[in-house]
Amino acid sequence: MKTLPFNSRSWLLLVLTAVLLFAAACGGGGAATTGMADSDRCGDRSQLASQINFFNWADYMDDDILEQFEQECGVRVNQDVFSSNEDMIARIQAGNSGYDLIVPSDYAVQIMIERGLLRELNLDNIPNFKNLNPSLLSLYYDPANRYSLPYQWGTTGIAYNRAYFDLPPDSWAYVLEPDLACQHRGFISLLDDEREAVGAALKYLGYSYNDTDPQHHAAARDLLISSKACLAGYNSDNFNQTLAGEEVVMAQAWSGGTALATSENENVAFVIPQEGGAIWMDNLAIPIDAPNPYTAEVFINYLLDAEIGAQLSNYTYYFTPNLAAEPLLDEEYFDILTMGGMIVTEDVLARLEWIERNEFTIIFSDTWTAVKAR
């Protein structure tokens, strides 16, 4: 066999691999026909792509779920991460991004629909739609859920340390009125976020979180400036650490971060003020130019499964919009959220307001700049 090239062995290896791959593919197909009973979470297998690209926030998905989906349905999910809605929109808007599934927040869904960047969902392919909490559907940014379905959500309220309060500080007055706030001078923080800090002040003054009236904003600005002397500072990056380490005893906070703090220090609890707090939702959506929309819909359906939905929230510590998943959440998750008072009842839900963004909300930047400059 002198005529064979010197690397004939690598050729052999290549052919062997190809044969094996072919056999594996056939084997996969065979399994699909025989194992129909437990494969109804995979939709129509003949239409599935071999992989999809998923653009998600970092640390916002249990890797085990991706592995299970790959084993069960034979679809590999490549996950990439972004750190702000604006970055993600820029990438999708450039076109031909290659992503099949993205996770925009509420207002970002609205922006993306307006710019024609999202594809209409075919709910026939997403029967688990029925698992979703009806009161978290048909929201302002996508009134008929034509383009997006809820993924995970959270709230903004007041986190506090039980050891320092006899009764829950259930009013924004506790962090904004100087008489009350200065009782814990230097041990209080507000979120370093123009929409959240200014929004809370507006809410306390009896206006909407989204109010854009300049006079109302002037009042909110004065209130924020007067409370500033009592604060430890503005903190939205590691308020969970300062709460758990008792460097602050009360903070305007997001529910998910507070849950993390509660898991470390059981004195940390959470309350939505009587005046009301904010609510946000991250959503599953498919870009207009997604290469594999059908497979993406099957994956959305998979994520909305009761079991998988519970697994997801057990991992993220955020709230699940999946009613069927709620009873399946594990004890640790439940303990922390019950203990921390983060469970959102219908009564509390009615007090929460969505943060909307439009051409007038630029005023929040001005107000916030004025507050921080003092």
């Binding site: 970092a58 991460v81 290659g98 590691n238 650490q241 470390e264």
Partner: protein, 284 residues
Amino acid sequence: MRTVSSPPANRLLTAGKGLLWLNMIFCFLFLYAPIAVLVAFSFNDSRLAASWQGFTLRWYVEVFNSRSVISAFQNSLIVAFAATIIATILGTMTSLAMERFRFRLRRTYDGVLYLPIIIPDIVMAVSLLAFFSLTLGWMNSLLGLQGAQALRPGLATVVIAHVAFNISFVAIVVRTSLRELDPMLEEAAQDLGADEWTTFRKVTLPLIMPGILGGALLAFTLSLDDFVITFFTTGPGGTTLPIEVFGRIRRAISPEINAISTIMLMMSMILIIVSQIFQRRSGR
């Protein structure tokens, strides 16, 4: 007392020395205290508390068990190696052309070469994003590719982008070692009958090799650390380590991030030290 008898000039000198020492201590403190804290807390046995709770390696274990971190790490290495090799070859060729030849627009080229170093990352990133979406769009319509087959941004575009900014850095480092090279050596080789290629291979290249390696290591480090340009030029399956880390901070600054940062820091530091050793040798 001895100080009383010493002349005033001498005293000034000792005072100056003391200040120099103070200056050095403060410099090191400013530079390295935050890093030391970061590294220390990567071994802290608590997810949140800012106080020391005991030594643990569990964050490192979790990092190495995370599928997303491992794949991001692989991507970072692939990009860094590919971009470094290409940029080093192109950068060395560029610096040779600039130092050894006279051609039209040489001065313009010289100025343009520095641009990637001077212009802000974000400007370069957005222009590359626009460039790739345009050219890939043209190529797709030219080749009739669409849907899952279409060409799109990914690791390859990241490599091209990194090559684009790394060429300048390599070229500058190599040029300094070329300038210090005695042209007589090359002339002597040619006098002795070596043709241009042999001269380059046997004389020039070995002499500027430390500069080339120094430039390559610099390119490797820059490529490994880059966030802004990578984020805007990457695509599906192209998440690198800095992108993964930056994304994770949004949720909570957890000790896992400290662990990843410590690993990256170690790698960068080793590379910088090696690169400095090479540059020092080329300076000799």
